[in-house]
Point group: C2
Chain length 196, copies 2
């Protein structure tokens, strides 16, 4: 289950980002990449702001895609999408049979998260889901020395690091996530912005 595996340079990676919290429904965008080089496809779906449907929506989006057979790994930008809609990465791995790598630009501020979750009647459940994403590992890529932080499900740390390094050719963020972010912000605001 947590095994390492051989990684081809053109490994198919799905990177998923969400868009701004403007409405009850929040758009999520997936990009299918061959390694870091070539975008093969774009997926789009909607999750509920602060809902609990992110895992299910992402599983359905992936399994309905004509790229599903070719995909080898899923990359997430943190585990909370559309506000506090938490992705259960163990369930995502189990239901898609694809390993999951979570990439974060900063070490999560768990105190702040826990405090925000007090406003949710099911805050404890969400907190458990966040903790379930497991150990957070620091990773410094060759790109610019700025560390990122990763979590994982269904993949060993060596393979996860290898895939992150392989796909982070433009910045310290893997291309599938960088480009998903450009698309999600560009479509919503008229021009892409931010951290990419």
């Amino acid at each position: 289950m947590n095994s390492d595996f051989h990684i081809k340079p053109e490994i198919r990676v799905l990177g998923i980002d969400d868009s701004a919290l403007l409405n009850e429904k929040v758009m999520i965008v997936g990009t299918v990449f061959r390694g870091a080089d070539w975008m093969d496809g774009v997926l789009r779906s909607e999750i509920t702001r602060d809902g609990l449907d992110a895992t299910e929506v992402i599983v359905t989006m992936i399994k309905n895609s004509r790229h599903y057979d070719q995909l080898r790994v899923i990359m997430l930008d943190g585990v909370t999408y559309g506000g506090f809609n938490v992705v259960d990465i163990e369930e995502l791995y189990r239901k898609t049979e694809l390993p999951v790598i979570v990439v974060m630009r900063a070490y999560p501020d768990f105190e702040k998260i826990r405090s925000a979750l007090r406003h949710f009647s099911d805050g404890e459940l969400r907190w458990e889901m966040i903790k379930k994403a497991g150990k957070i590992e620091k990773l410094v890529t060759e790109k610019n020395g700025t560390p990122i932080y990763i979590q994982k499900a269904g993949i060993g740390i060596k393979s996860a690091e290898k895939i992150v390094r392989l796909t982070s050719i433009r910045s310290n963020i893997p291309e599938p996530l960088r480009v998903a972010h450009l698309i999600a912000t560009g479509i919503i605001f008229g021009e892409s912005r931010g951290k990419a």
Copy 2:
């Protein structure tokens, strides 16, 4: 005006595609590329189905973009967007001061176009705008031998061909247009499709 110029491999190109005709307003998507390699940004706007606002909307989208200063050339997928909303490429060139290259997968069926334009009260005007896009040149790229057809404004044929060849590394369609198409179809339908 029709001069050839020096082309850097990382020349900033904006490729624009439209989405399906599902509503009165049709989404257009622009991708800002560095040559063929790296997507720097995404633009989005709306034009009117069968309207006459495509040129103006595209000019505004480009001039409002923070990428405007860096852009060197605009690529269009034909000259009709959102049905028969014709882009006046001479005006687009004049107002943005950026050369325009029109890429087509097939030689246009002018008889069919003219016939469809009979249903428009201003069909003659649209026909004149289509003709104004000028001479159509056949271009065979190294990629797969399938020819494409190009028109241009504000750029010589040699430079236009060079830019098309430089950016057509995945198929016979330049990357900025290939990726704009993936985004436009992916966002509208939930998964990208088609000719890319």
